[in-house]
């Protein structure tokens, strides 16, 4: 849940990047870290295995600056995608204000995407959160791969995006779609806050 401090005029929101293993969640954060001015970001923390697979989470604090006089900060998290780490995924998901579901566009990862999306719904439900009430956007990553290996954004929408929420094509490694995705989820989260429905 977002924290709004009216006395200090501060807003802090938590956004979680979710999706199957190796779909590009950490790559998204690494790209953002590399492109946002140093004054607007903190250190990127990665709790990873020796082979650079996310073990617990990646974390990147961002300072959006002043919005209507409120100093606005985002906490970006990724979850470990491997199914083995579901217990830690649940912990990271706690208190999320918005979710970016990073899907792997490769046709051979179709089932992994579906399984991960189902897992997201289950983990949210176990915390009493209905995914329909939470700001969620989809990112279809790896759209730069050869066309015969991947599903198009429309095909990905048909497969995953049952609610017709915002979706973004991406090549996170080179940055395509990364900021568009973050901007999309940021708008949803903060507009929800502005409507007063999530103010703590």
């Amino acid at each position: 849940m977002s924290l709004v401090n009216f006395a200090a005029r501060e807003i802090t929101c938590k956004i979680v990047y979710y999706g199957p293993g190796r779909s590009g969640k950490t790559t998204n954060l690494q790209y953002v870290y590399g492109r946002v001015p140093e004054a607007r970001r903190g250190r990127m923390v990665s709790l990873a295995t020796q082979t650079d697979r996310t073990l617990f989470f990646d974390f990147l604090p961002l300072d959006l600056g002043s919005i209507s006089g409120f100093s606005t900060k985002f906490q970006l998290y990724t979850v470990p995608g491997q199914s083995y780490y579901n217990a830690t995924r649940k912990l990271v998901l706690q208190g999320a204000d918005g979710v970016v579901f990073v899907a792997d566009s490769q046709a051979r990862r179709f089932d992994d995407n579906l399984e991960s999306l189902q897992n997201l719904q289950d983990n949210l439900l176990s915390q009493g959160v209905d995914i329909r009430q939470l700001p969620v956007v989809f990112q279809y990553n790896k759209q730069d791969l050869p066309r015969d290996l991947i599903l198009s954004p429309d095909e990905m929408d048909d497969a995953l995006n049952f609610r017709g929420v915002q979706s973004f094509s991406a090549d996170a490694l080179h940055g395509t779609g990364v900021f568009e995705t973050l901007k999309g989820v940021s708008e949803l989260v903060l507009k929800r806050l502005a409507a007063g429905s999530a103010v703590a």
Partner: protein
């Protein structure tokens, strides 16, 4: 010192004075900062809160899997400074305290005064939640401008 709500300040100030702690961070279980003392950069506070909340969450889950009760506190001892993490209940939900202290005090004193601070926080906390307050009317318009500025799009 910075605190989200004014009733937190007095118990926290007393704790800092009596325990000689160097840094303290109070946060929710999802890593949102409630109050802090001693940190220089706000983004570093968020990082410390995220890591502290993760440690507590993972050890509580470990305790649950092992069939035991929650750990009262976790202490990481270092040569020059140590760190204590403890979760506690308040009328505003479950919070976590992260305390960094040096050789000028001891883990026993820190724990003693921390427990006292928790009692004071629990009794000082208003029983009713602060009412939800809508953000200013120009919030959405300024949001678009700020996001374009930060993300360059």
């Amino acid at each position: 010192m910075r605190a989200l709500e004014p009733w937190v300040v007095a118990p926290l100030q007393t704790f800092i004075t009596e325990s000689s702690a160097r840094l303290i961070l109070l946060m929710t279980t999802s890593g949102q900062v409630v109050a802090q003392h001693g940190f220089a950069r706000s983004v570093e506070v968020m990082t410390a809160a995220a890591l502290g909340a993760a440690i507590v969450a993972s050890t509580e889950e470990l305790a649950r899997i092992m069939g035991g009760s929650r750990f009262a506190a976790l202490v990481h001892g270092g040569a020059q400074q140590s760190c204590m993490l403890a979760a506690f209940g308040t009328p505003r939900g479950r919070w976590i305290g992260l305390v960094v202290f040096g050789t000028e005090t001891s883990v026993g004193l820190v724990q003693l005064f921390f427990d006292q601070m928790v009692e004071q926080l629990v009794s000082a906390a208003p029983r009713e939640q602060a009412p939800a307050t809508p953000l200013p009317n120009d919030f959405e318009r300024e949001l678009d401008t700020s996001l374009k500025e930060l993300f360059g799009r």
